[in-house]
């Protein structure tokens, strides 16, 4: 029916779309949102590969892909909390969300 490569394809497309948005948007919160989009693509990839493993190996396959996806969600939650705290503090200091405004260490 649906080859596992198609799930990988959708995961890769989501990841690349997140990467394109990450590189080309000029708003701090948008950059973090595109990071989350990249993580969505990675989750889809992980579960796709895990599905292939389960179907190929049968009884002696483990669920490493899905448990790693759970850890990924945990890390994404921690990163989102810290990122939003940073954004709030930076917004209060410079009153702008442009990442170019914070490039004071550029040579």
């Amino acid at each position: 029916m649906v080859d596992y490569t198609y799930y990988i394809l959708i995961g890769v497309i989501l990841f690349v779309l997140g990467l394109v948005g990450f590189v080309s948007r000029r708003n701090l919160v948008m950059i973090f949102l595109c990071t989350e989009l990249m993580l969505q693509g990675v989750i889809l990839n992980l579960v796709g590969f895990n599905r292939y493993w389960l179907l190929a190996k049968g009884a002696d396959a483990n669920l490493a892909g899905q448990s790693f996806a759970i850890f990924l969600m945990v890390i994404a939650a921690a990163e989102a909390a810290l990122a939003m705290a940073l954004v709030l503090v930076l917004q209060r200091q410079r009153d702008t969300l442009d990442p170019d405004e914070f490039a004071t260490m550029k040579g």
């Binding site: 394809l9 997140g18 969505q40 292939y52 179907l55 490493a64 945990v74």
Partner: protein, 220 residues
């Protein structure tokens, strides 16, 4: 696979109409290419997969093209739900519901909350045009081609049956819990500690003493 690389995509938030039509055409071409390449018997789940993956890619494209970030966050919620539906198709049921609850229900609520706090009434100057969109899309295409070259190797037909019993019984919370607690217990505990550290760190960031002369710049 070269078909995917020729598809045109335009990503400029300040010229939205051209971008949307081109992206729509490329999405339709992608779907037609996938349908033509589908070999073997078509099971009843296939049109669902096409529909949900189209919704996921379309909402991701909409998300990175939005002018206002709040609408982008809402498009991202739609992307989340589509990815959860794709996970459901793969019989990863616990993970799909966990994705909706944790990601769309908690992380994106944080994002929307902060977006409400830092809202700028006219779309700000730095939001109106993307930064170097042509090179960004070029790099994205190169990466896409490189990854797809390696990843797309077709498999024998027996690996595509969704109703195999191993797959169905592997998606439950019990199976994932067994895997987590039998093989990854250390990582599980460390993940809890990471969450605790993140919560403490977020509070510490917010309570750090500010520089006195910057206080006059705040909008009261």
């Amino acid at each position: 696979m070269g078909l995917f690389l020729i598809l045109p995509k335009d990503r400029q938030p300040s010229r939205l109409h051209i971008g949307v039509t081109l992206a729509g055409l490329s999405l339709i071409a992608l779907l037609i290419a996938m349908l033509r390449r589908a070999a073997g018997p078509v099971m009843p789940q296939y049109p669902w997969f096409i529909l949900i993956s189209a919704a996921a890619v379309a909402s991701a494209v909409m998300m990175i093209c939005q002018k206002r970030i709040l609408y982008a966050a809402l498009c991202f919620v739609l992307t989340n739900l589509s990815v959860a539906a794709l996970l459901l198709l793969q019989q990863a049921r616990f993970l799909a519901i966990a994705l909706v609850i944790v990601y769309a229900g908690a992380i994106l609520v944080i994002y929307v909350f902060v977006l409400m706090c830092v809202r700028q009434e006219p779309p700000a100057e730095h939001d109106r045009a993307a930064r170097e969109p042509f090179f960004a899309v070029l790099v994205g295409f190169a990466l896409l081609g490189a990854i797809l070259q390696l990843a797309m190797t077709p498999l024998p037909q027996s690996y595509t049956d969704e109703t195999k019993s191993e797959l169905i019984e592997s998606g439950t919370a019990q199976a994932i819990a067994q895997e987590l607690f039998n093989h990854h217990i250390a990582a599980f505990e460390i993940a809890g500690v990471i969450l605790l550290i993140a919560a403490v760190g977020a509070i510490a960031i917010m309570r750090a003493p500010r520089i006195p002369e910057e206080k006059t710049k705040r909008i009261t």
